[in-house]
Symmetry: C2
Subunit: 112 residues, 2 copies
């Protein structure tokens, strides 16, 4: 484990602050936070995702102490696909990349 310096991006922080600001004061009802849009967040960069090599992915799975098959079930993908990911034969896209990043940062319990 590296020092893991609380990698909450400016965007994330801005998001949470925006949510709190909108909620603060009695102007908004508990249940009707205003919607957070691009305007609120300004020109911040998108949430930063590590690209994740095959090795990275294997490491993530091993940290979860799972076989490819069990890991695949939790990701809702096939064993063959996990195998391909770890060998670099395929690259995770969109939501899969987010999910893997979450597991790396917060552990497998984050998705249980």
């Amino acid at each position: 484990m590296t020092t893991e310096k609380k990698k909450m991006s400016r965007l994330t922080k801005a998001l949470l602050e925006t949510a709190e600001d909108l909620h603060a004061g009695g102007l908004l009802k508990e249940n009707t936070y205003k919607k957070i849009t691009k305007r609120h967040l300004g020109e911040e960069e998108k949430p930063d995702l590590a690209p994740l090599s095959g090795e990275d992915i294997r490491t993530i799975r091993e940290q979860a102490h799972m076989s490819q098959s069990v890991f695949a079930d939790y990701l809702n993908v096939t064993v063959g696909y996990v195998s391909k990911l770890e060998r670099g034969a395929k690259r995770p896209s969109g939501a899969a990349l987010v999910l893997l990043n979450v597991i790396r940062r917060k552990g497998i319990e984050a998705i249980l």
Copy 2:
């Protein structure tokens, strides 16, 4: 919020118990849990994922108080795709479905 009856599937519980069992006793070093495989978990069903209709997905996004665009950024997908999901023109697959389920169960902070 519905009563949310601690929906930890048998599989999840088995997983965590297995991990603890393997760790218990001085037989295994702190860092060398044995790998959890299908054998350990027996013939349990896979983690149960709700199928998520377009309406569901819209609700999830609205609970996060985000515009489609901001939500899309966090899912690492395009705005157009989120729009299609909510309209039912496309259905989320594999990891995307897991991610949406996680957000629904644990809130958007679960992936920040």
